[in-house]
Symmetry: C2
Subunit: 395 residues, 2 copies
């Protein structure tokens, strides 16, 4: 194989650990400099390729590349941009080839969620449809944890830790105030179509009766009567009630609750926010004081409280992507495979780490598989996720 | 002085470090057991005294008392409850004396903000007006940082660290997304009548042009035209705009912006939230995609990211309260005095700590003084606050 350069870009909503994947990829590429030349990072995802706006990472210091592992945000800029089909938007793909050829790009790495893997798959068609030889590898990332086949998605573990920690702290605050003031606290959680991040709020509780008392998942239609009965029950038992609600909760009519008729003073529909809607409902119907929080970007960007397992997994999928590419495996995405269902205690984990034991591993997932299997997954969230550390290895 | 027992209680909105004050007070009281007997903690503030619902802390282990220093919430429960005047509500004060006498309470410690210091002052009148000998010491606490005379309020430093860290992380997220998606991010900050917590968001930026680009303080009337011009200017210069807004921002008419006509689907006025109002305004007038966050309780309860200086100061005022009480100084509150205006660099600080140097110290503030000087303070926030460590000692 001729030594060629690589293109790497970040796409979709940012996570707290997407730069750890960049760090894993760039450090590994440098170690394999006999196989990969320069790595160019696209500014703002695939748009950086289309506009030939690329950052030559080879001029960055080792320290700067290492520091990416603990840098929040998306260091090279992200984008929400979908490539059209290769048949209907041929000119766009020819432009990509023009840029790739000018920079001798033979490897394409795309770091993102479901839509980003779709982009990686489409770029991989350059090789077959337009006879431009390129090895394409997708790198998983999404806080929503809704990528199929991979056991979990880098970005999710950190959000799980953030929401569980934050909700527990806020619940202690509420419990101290409820006798004479606020009785109900509602926290809104990202994940419009998948309830994993909301379900992760359950990690805040250790014992029966601990907060959160109610979870509202986007997969379950909101039932006002049943919900209010549960709030009353929590108030009766605990004198306060903590609720985690997904931004994507829908009413029985299939409409988002967040859009339920909130108008500002100008009569414009109000932007987002289901937590205030839920709070208002409780306040109106049950007559108690409510507080609500919408952490929004704070939740997904909170590198200060990222989960160590998540950082290591994000780094490992970046590293695995390079290994796969060098092995000539195109149109694949490194995935995380579960090797054990028993969450490891810290003691067990240490033993396992010493013995080189692992509860997860990376496997190559063919990108077209994930397209077929988009709706394949389900079941309860993996509460053990944030208890595991250094459990991923690339094979 | 006869050895008598003590009553300690927590009051008002919870901070991330109020339990550190409890830890400082209880540990010091144990060390001075020749002067102070048992410390009873009131459940839910002064209500615990009125209802004789008190926790005997002497049965708690040393480890449990030490652990309070890093425990979120208010361990003994807080309250929002104002004592009436001793002349109009004599029966309530007689009830206090009844309970205090039954438990041989000779020391009263009340841990809270402005209203709580008022309660401590009123209880201190028992001695003079009802001839019940009691030494009363207030312990400062408020995230709003609006207690007079004391240089800063325990609780504020941690909120400052939380908002600055969170806003910086979210700003990096926004900067990565703004090319193709969200352009404006608005974070709402607690502090209805004081802008210190909002101003602390400025700590998120290091260089000219860094986020936040706009701060909306409760002390400055909102001017829609000027505000939108500033948003447009930020978008022009940086392609994105980060805004921190106080929950207490008011329009030119003196009304809270958060109450500006938001109605839910039932026509009820919407609960709180000025960030969505600001976002809606920008989205409507400038036509760009906006995100907003309202961290609410998450902000003030975030023990996971508490500022070390704040923890130490909270502990020190708890310790100082006991020393003052033993010295017979009644109707006082330990306050923090600034000894230097130069924020200490980490290197300087280490040197200072080794030499025993301090930039702040505790002084006794007479409780009636804070009543007179309620509106005394002003000026810019103390940005150096969170850079200082172990800078308080009780004198």
């Amino acid at each position: 194989m001729v030594r060629t350069n690589a293109f790497y870009a970040q796409s979709g909503g940012v996570s707290a650990v997407i730069n750890a994947s960049a760090s894993g990829l760039l450090q590994t590429a440098r170690q394999r400099s006999g196989k990969i030349g320069k790595v160019y990072a696209g500014r703002n995802g695939i748009i950086g390729a289309l506009t030939e706006d690329m950052i030559d990472t080879s001029v960055e210091s080792e320290a700067a590349i290492a520091a990416l592992k603990h840098t929040p945000g998306a260091a090279f800029g992200s984008c929400r941009y979908k490539l059209g089909s290769i048949h209907e938007h041929r000119a766009q793909y020819e432009r990509l080839i023009e840029v790739f050829r000018a920079h001798e790009i033979g490897f394409f790495f795309y770091n993102g969620g479901g839509d980003s893997q779709d982009t990686a798959y489409k770029v991989s068609q350059l090789a077959a449809e337009l006879a431009y030889p390129i090895v394409c590898v997708g790198i998983p990332k999404t806080i929503d944890n809704d990528l199929p086949i991979t056991d979990c998605s880098p970005g999710f573990g950190s959000v799980a830790k953030y929401v569980a920690t934050s909700l527990r702290e806020a619940a202690l605050d509420l419990a101290a105030m409820s006798r004479t003031s606020t009785k109900v606290f509602t926290m809104e959680v990202m994940g419009r179509h998948a309830g994993w991040t909301t379900a992760a709020c359950a990690l805040a509780g250790e014992h029966e009766g601990d907060a959160p008392h109610i979870l509202l998942l986007p997969e379950v239609a909101f039932n006002e009567k049943r919900f209010l009965a549960k709030v009353e029950e929590a108030l009766e038992r605990h004198d306060h009630c903590v609720i985690a609600v997904s931004e994507g909760v829908k009413g029985p009519d299939g409409e988002f609750l967040s859009a339920l008729g909130l108008k500002d003073s100008f009569g414009h529909a109000q932007l987002g926010g289901v937590a205030p809607v839920i709070s208002n409902l409780i306040s109106t119907k049950l007559g108690c004081k409510c507080h609500w929080a919408v952490p929004d970007y704070l939740m997904r960007s909170a590198r200060h409280i990222a989960a160590e397992t998540d950082v290591e997994q994000a780094y490992a999928v970046g590293r695995a992507a390079v290994e796969f590419a060098i092995a000539g495996r195109s149109s694949v995405m490194p995935a995380i495979r579960r090797l054990s269902d028993a969450p490891l205690s810290l003691g067990h984990h240490r033993g396992a780490a010493r013995r080189g034991g692992q509860s997860r591993e990376a496997v190559a997932l063919r990108l077209h598989q994930r397209r077929r299997l988009r709706d394949h997954r389900g079941g309860p969230p993996l509460f053990g996720a944030t208890h595991r550390r250094r459990s991923l290895s690339a094979i």
